[in-house]
Amino acid sequence: MAVEKILRTEKLKMEHEVNTALEDIRVLDLAGQSGVYCTKLLADLGADVIRIEPPDGDPMRQLAPFYHDEPGPERSLYYWHFNTSKRGITLNLTIPTGQEIFKKLVNTADILVETFQPGYLDSLGLNHEILRAINPRLIHVSITGFGQAGPYSCFKSTDLIGQAMSGILYTTGFPEDPPTSLGASQAYHMVSANAAIGALIALQYRDLIGNGQNVDIPMQGTNLRMSEMVPFTYWVSGRNRQRSGLEYYRMQRDNFDCKDGRVICSALGGGGAEQMLNWMESEGMAGDLRDEKYVDVIAAMMGAAPPGRGSKRNVNQRPPKSLKDYPDEIPHIEEVWQTFLNTHTMEELFVGAQTRGVRLMPVNNVKNVVEDIGLKERNYFVDVSHPELERIFTYPGAPYRLSETPWRISRRAPLIGEHNLEIYGEELGYGLNEIEEMKKAGTI
């Protein structure tokens, strides 16, 4: 086994001529939507991730959006995005011949990631104890909605339910609307990223001690972090944190229009009000805000915002007076600020404020993001080749840049059964006839 592994690693090295951090690690990927980002993270760090699909294809291939909006199992952008750098095989886990092959794969694997309801693998005769007996070094990561053993362990979950039952959903949106979710399946990303941490912590332990283990990753628990201490606020004060629309914790509005869109920044740049007032004055746009009567309120606004480079607050200073003491002045200040913002574009305000030390940010849509000169200059986006379509597409790039073992997308998502011959034939040693038989029997 060890020799095979070294050969595999050497082969990968020759192919790509770069070291990757996890190139010696094989991952079996049985993850649904809640875990598929976990295995993408491992694959793009170089692990040999083998995605195992049912013979008729993964249900995830039915998820929109599709290439040119035409549905088809090889056209799901959802599948493409989350399965980069992986190899793919088909295998029917519900029949004994499939289970035997799976056990052989487990014997070659370092990590197994699955998102089944608790008890499902047991019903297939593939529970953790059995897998561990086959391979004591196996790290078995189980992602579920509510954990393996708790009172809700048999409940089904989704991204929206993950957000609902961790306190995020109740607090996002406007008070007069129903609770409103975050886009782009944040709950799935959160549990997946935590699962990758769990897998790698277990790997660190295995590198030292030698044993694998089971890692139980609940979506509800891991998502509590994203709710920013909703339970905590209740515990301390007996109050429920409420939906507050555009106002963040500090009770200041920080979402304003500008010439061609919107920006995020509290009025006058909060802690950087001095710098922004100078800028506004230089363009004759500061109105009467330099009058004596605004000195105190602007000082309070500077203290109420998070301390940027412009802030003078430190441990020895008294906290500022509350903004609630200035019900008349604040709307006027916001009006002058708005008039100034209307004369500039998002990019002008972003660059102008940031170069003055004020942390203003644009409210981008995806077009703004893809065209952003900062991201372009850093070559953030990557091109991924889809040879069967004779096309190259632009994908989101590295979430982190490792100097010795760079992140990379080594290939587009696998087609259905694309690596059956490579893995069943070359690696597990089944003959071509046997593989044909397995296909006929519906095993693969």
Binding site: T171, Q204, I264, V315, P396
Partner: protein
């Protein structure tokens, strides 16, 4: 504990950075948080943030207490040359260095990666400059609320008729601390194979973009600029948040398959609905979604949110209470059973901290103690670990090196 034997010199502050160290501390690493009163951590003093009760009164700093559980704490003044010299001694006996200062700050004070490898050749260093160390935005900075709007998350979240805005700071809690932790753990594995450390640059903007799902390729491949869709998604219906009995009371219901659709119809006592021509397929249900949502809400609105969840889940239909803080702390059985938050002694009172969430079968870990006071472990770190004499330590206090 799985990370025993790993030492982290944690220079990070505010939120996204300290959570990297917290992962390591919670699972057994010795994490030494370096602070200075000269540059006080925002999370110790944030006005308007959550507070703690101690000394019989409400105090600021609850964020800090939660973000730095299980760590050791020392004070060190990095604006003095002697502070830098001592920082290097600590780094020389550490495995990992973390910080989230603006780009180039550690280089300017003499603690850049090139300097650190001189005292510890296999050090793993992670830095989290918002826009990265290079490029036209490298001197810019920002917070989670701004980063999530710059990556376009605001533009795809919320009700279609509202201004795009989110009243949380997701990047600080989600992608950035988790990605940084993943990168460091991967680098540790590489080090255990090769003996080599490395430098990790996590540009928070780029890291957060990794959580935009298909938003980016839907644009680059299909040219679509996605807009907010409320609680709806393309491949499920009904899918949303439904009003239940009681004030501001809601339950999420998500039907993704035909089996779940049939089960929902049975659960709400209307099995014939399943074959109703208006709702018999996903595309039909998407066409008539407003009407369908009203039908579902007619059933939920006269039941409590817990009743709705329990009835639907007993029929294998994914449903979940939209929980308030009070729901989590007092009503959610799973939350209590797993002790997702834990009460810990803090000063002369108690603190309430997020517990560990990763369940390791062979090396179980729970949060052990609340965050350190400023300089609480100066004696241990400077005396025992770095072997400084009592005189040297006193001298450092006099010279404000430890302030």
């Amino acid at each position: 504990m799985p990370l025993e034997g790993i030492r982290v010199a944690d220079f990070a502050w505010v939120q996204a950075g300290p959570w990297v160290g917290r992962f390591f501390a919670n699972y057994g690493a010795e994490v030494i948080r370096i602070e200075s009163a000269k540059r006080l951590d925002w999370s110790r003093s944030v006005p308007g943030g959550p507070e703690i009760t101690a000394g019989g009164k409400v105090q600021r700093g609850a964020y800090f207490v939660n973000f730095n559980c299980d760590k050791l704490g020392i004070t060190l003044n990095l604006s003095l040359p002697k502070g830098i010299e001592i920082a290097k001694k600590l780094i020389a006996i550490s495995d990992i260095v973390t910080d989230n200062f603006t780009a180039g700050y550690m280089d300017r004070i003499g603690l850049g990666y090139q300097e650190l490898v001189k005292v510890k050749p296999d050090i793993i260093m992670v830095e989290m400059p918002v826009f990265g160390n290079t490029g036209p935005r490298r001197t810019f900075a920002g917070y989670g609320t701004g980063i999530q709007s710059a990556i376009g998350l605001n533009s795809i979240s919320g009700m279609p008729y509202r201004r795009p805005g989110l009243n949380i700071a997701l990047p600080d809690m989600g992608p950035n601390p988790t990605h940084a932790t993943i990168a460091v753990l991967a680098a540790l594995h590489h080090r255990s194979k090769t003996g080599r450390g490395q430098y990790i640059e996590l540009a928070q903007l780029e890291s957060s973009l990794g959580w935009m799902e298909t938003t980016i390729i839907d644009y680059t491949v299909n040219g679509r600029v996605r807009k907010p869709q409320g609680n709806r998604i393309p491949h499920a219906s009904p899918h949303g948040v439904y009003r239940c009995s009681g004030e501001d009371s809601w339950c999420a219901i998500c039907v993704s398959t035909e089996t779940e659709w049939k089960s929902l119809c049975e659960a709400i006592g209307n099995p014939s609905l399943a074959t109703d021509i208006r709702y018999s397929t996903l595309s039909k249900r998407k066409e008539n979604e407003d009407e369908l949502d009203r039908l579902v809400e007619n059933w939920t609105t006269i039941r409590s949110r817990w009743e709705v969840m329990n009835i639907l889940q007993s029929h294998d239909v994914p449903a979940g209470v939209v929980e308030t803080g009070e729901d989590l702390v007092t009503r959610d059985e799973n939350y209590r059973s797993y002790e997702y938050y834990i009460e810990l002694p803090y000063r002369d009172g108690r603190a309430y901290c997020e517990n560990t969430m990763l369940g390791f079968s062979d090396t179980p870990c729970r949060v052990r103690h609340a965050a350190p006071e400023m300089g609480q472990h100066n004696d241990y770190v400077y005396g025992e670990l770095l072997g400084m004499s009592e005189d040297e330590i006193v001298q450092c206090y006099v010279e404000e090196v430890f302030s």
